[in-house]
């Protein structure tokens, strides 16, 4: 699946385009009523997002987003810095709750269960919707304890043997087992950056979540470590639903089936990845993927 060649559009002679000095963004008026173009809604969705607005205090960060997240699919969220894609991602497992001023309006459902209904147990939700962060954040514990953390707090393992098995299975799925099997009881923080990130992925999948959210999981890693994580994402997408925020359009093209383009807090376009990168429907998407801003 090598769509990166189609990104050759990005090398358009710059003189042919309008103001590209960087200071002057492409001037396209955004109106509050503008609807998302493309196929935001699909059948057989794992999570559905309807009319979601997110505020930090008085400031609105996300405007009226409607999108579906397909089961066992990877959806990539791209867009310029500060466009709200991370904020949006964090609303999908209510991590925004940890920020006092943050307020989410609208309707987000997982398997038709409302995330923001008072009946919902947020602790249980986060076990179902796991998250991998931008910077690898292993706990200051051993590699084993990092992975065993989730199963322990949720009581998933009855015996030590069960737990050992779970840890091994998760580390194998994260492609880390062979590298760490001889030093499971050494500190997780002693691993390299890429290994730490895979450890965080192993930790997230140890509780068998249904959805995994990834917030720029490779931005702190070198290209080789990035390639390993990308392979891993592809493998994981067979069993898990994945939503990934990324700054790298190549990465979005390589790992995802659908791509959502965010701009200034609005969801501009959602389409199959190949279409977004070869034949974007919206002019803003086109400007972004051809490198006119971002």
């Amino acid at each position: 699946m090598n769509t990166s060649t189609t990104l050759g559009v990005g090398t358009l002679p710059m003189s042919a385009t309008q103001d590209v000095s960087g200071a002057g963004p492409v001037n396209i008026e955004l109106t509050a009523t503008q609807a998302t173009v493309g196929s935001a809604q699909i059948p057989n969705a794992k999570m559905t997002v309807r009319n979601v607005n997110i505020f930090y205090g008085e400031k609105q960060a996300i405007y009226d987003v409607n999108v579906d997240i397909g089961k066992n699919q990877v959806i990539a969220m791209i867009g310029p810095s500060g466009c709200g894609k991370s904020t949006f991602l964090r609303s999908l497992n209510r991590m925004n709750d940890t920020i006092d001023s943050c307020r989410v309006e609208g309707d987000i459902r997982i398997d038709d269960e409302n995330l923001y209904s008072p009946k919902l147990d947020v602790v249980e939700l986060r076990a179902r919707v796991g998250m991998v962060f931008q910077k690898p954040n292993p706990f200051p514990k051993s590699i084993y304890d990092n992975v065993a953390y989730g199963p322990k707090i949720h009581g998933l393992a009855d015996t030590r043997v069960d737990l050992d098995e779970m840890v091994e299975r998760s580390l194998r799925k994260a492609g880390l087992w062979d590298e760490v099997k001889d030093r499971l009881f050494q500190a997780g923080t002693g691993l390299s950056g890429g290994q730490q990130q895979r450890l965080c992925i192993a930790r997230a999948i140890a509780v068998s979540p249904e959805v995994i959210l990834m917030d720029e999981p490779c931005s702190a890693l070198d290209p080789i470590a990035t390639a390993r994580i990308e392979e891993l994402i592809e493998e994981l997408s067979q069993n898990f639903t994945i939503a990934i925020v990324t700054h790298s359009m190549q990465q979005a093209a390589r790992v995802s089936q659908r791509t959502a383009y965010f701009h200034l807090g609005r969801l501009i376009e959602v389409n199959p990845t190949e279409q977004v990168f070869t034949n974007p429907e919206h002019s803003l998407t086109e400007s972004y993927i051809t490198g006119r801003f971002g």
Partner: protein
């Protein structure tokens, strides 16, 4: 001129030197067509000149002030007729004092031997001479330094680097002051202790089970055996400290967790300073609170349960000391807990852990080295605390582990040994230094352990 006057003159000269140096540099710069043609900014040349003017002269002034007195006295003593010369060091000091008092007019000259009066006059003359020569030497060195440095100023002079070097040495000197002060205190305590250990064997002091430091002044005096076994004191210290830590560690740690993790911003804004006010209460206030409020309360409660509680008890002192130490632990622990990266909490919360699970399993382990270090510091503080135990724990050196009894601590004994009239050649007084040395060693060891703990955890986690 007096040394202090001379010092202010020197300061004036140094300021003058700064402006002269800067002025010359600016002048050179003007001739070359702007400051950019100088190696350094003009003010660096000013600092450079000021340093050469002030520093050597100041060194000389200090040395002179320190050595002036002894040297002059020595010269005066040499001029005395041989029959008046002192035989021992004590007599030497006495005579020197006498002569200087005569020369200052404090002692009347009547009834003094002529030789002493002459000596006093010699002393006066020498002092006068010394002062004049000091003034002349110091100011001329300052002026010479000024002139020389000013003449050295050319556009290529790297004044910036020279000043940088001087700054580095100045900083180093300041760091040395703290280190040498500590060293000085340790050495003085050490030598006095060695003095003490000449009359009391070390083993008797460290392992002896009886403490009664009253020495018999007359041979037939009763009940003043003078035994210096320090174990009861250390047991008392330990007992009070343990009680204090039982109060301070849980309360301090939990209040820190509440403040850092759960408290709303507005609550925190008031609660944290309020907690820290505890640290600002003078220990003597804690002391009488312990002695006048807590101890009687404990005795009454104990009586109602049929327990005999001494009116000055280890429990009362320990409880109040624990309260005093709470802010130490809570403030340090709060700092380290807040310093745990948000990413750790996010990672745990995103796994579906509750807030308290996150605190217990991730935040506290991550903050543990800092917390342990804080507790160690608090223990040092508890062991060295004096006022509360003086007022509330009693003076009797009971060898007991019962917190309801009255005990005495190392610090209390040091206070009682060293207050009032002292004779510095008796074992009773010198025992205070030995106790001080032991106390210092214990807190030193605790601090080293704390540092090691912190280091080990750091190595593991970073």
């Amino acid at each position: 001129m007096h040394a202090t006057d001379l010092f202010f003159l020197l300061v004036g000269l140094t300021v003058l030197a700064f402006y002269m140096g800067r002025g010359k540099a600016s002048q050179i710069a003007q001739g070359l067509g702007g400051i950019r043609n100088l190696h350094s900014l003009p003010s660096y040349y000013g600092h450079y000149t000021a340093l050469y003017c002030g520093f050597p002269a100041l060194l000389l002034l200090c040395a002179w002030s320190i050595f002036e007195g002894p040297v002059i006295i020595g010269m005066v003593m040499d001029s005395l007729p041989s029959d008046l010369r002192p035989s021992g060091s004590v007599e030497y000091k006495l005579l020197a004092n006498k002569i200087s008092n005569i020369s200052l007019g404090i002692l009347p000259t009547i009834n003094q031997p002529d030789a002493l009066i002459t000596a006093a006059e010699t002393l006066q003359r020498y002092s006068q001479l010394s002062r004049w020569s000091m003034t002349a030497l110091v100011s001329s060195i300052a002026l010479l330094g000024l002139m020389w440095a000013r003449s050295m100023i050319v556009a290529e002079l790297r004044a910036r680097q020279r000043v940088e070097t001087a700054v580095r040495y100045a900083l180093f000197a300041c760091a040395c002051v703290a280190i040498f002060t500590t060293l000085g205190i340790v050495l003085s305590v050490l030598f006095e202790s060695l003095q003490f250990f000449k009359s009391v064997p070390v083993a008797d002091f460290i392992f002896g089970l009886e403490w009664s430091p009253q020495m018999a002044i007359r041979a037939d005096q009763v009940g003043s055996s003078g035994s210096f076994g320090a174990v009861p004191l250390f047991v008392g210290t330990l007992l009070v400290s343990v009680v204090a830590m039982f109060v301070a560690v849980p309360i301090g740690l939990m209040s820190a967790i509440y403040l850092a993790e759960y408290a709303h911003k507005s609550v925190r804004a008031y609660a944290k300073p309020a907690l820290e006010i505890l640290a600002g209460i003078p220990t003597v206030v804690y002391g009488f609170f312990a002695a006048l409020t807590v101890a009687p309360f404990l005795r009454n409660v104990g009586e109602s349960y049929g327990l005999s509680v001494s009116s000055e008890s280890a429990l009362a002192a320990g409880l109040v000391m624990g309260v005093m130490i709470i802010p130490f632990i809570s403030s340090l622990a709060d700092d380290v807990i807040t310093a745990v990266p948000q990413a750790m909490r996010d990672g745990s919360l995103a796994m579906g852990a509750t807030h308290s699970e996150t605190v217990r399993r991730v935040v506290i382990p991550a903050a543990l080295p800092g917390i342990v270090a804080g507790i160690m510091l608090a223990i040092s503080r508890a062991i060295g605390e004096t006022m509360i135990v003086v007022m509330a724990s009693g003076l009797a050196a009971n060898m007991t582990f019962n917190p309801l009894d009255s005990v005495t601590t190392v610090t209390v004994q040091i206070v009682t040994l060293l207050t009032g009239d002292q004779e510095f050649d008796s074992a009773k007084t010198l025992a205070a230094f030995a106790l001080g040395l032991m106390l210092f060693l214990i807190t030193l060891i605790l601090n080293i352990i704390a540092l090691q703990v912190v280091k080990r955890f750091r190595e593991q986690y970073e």
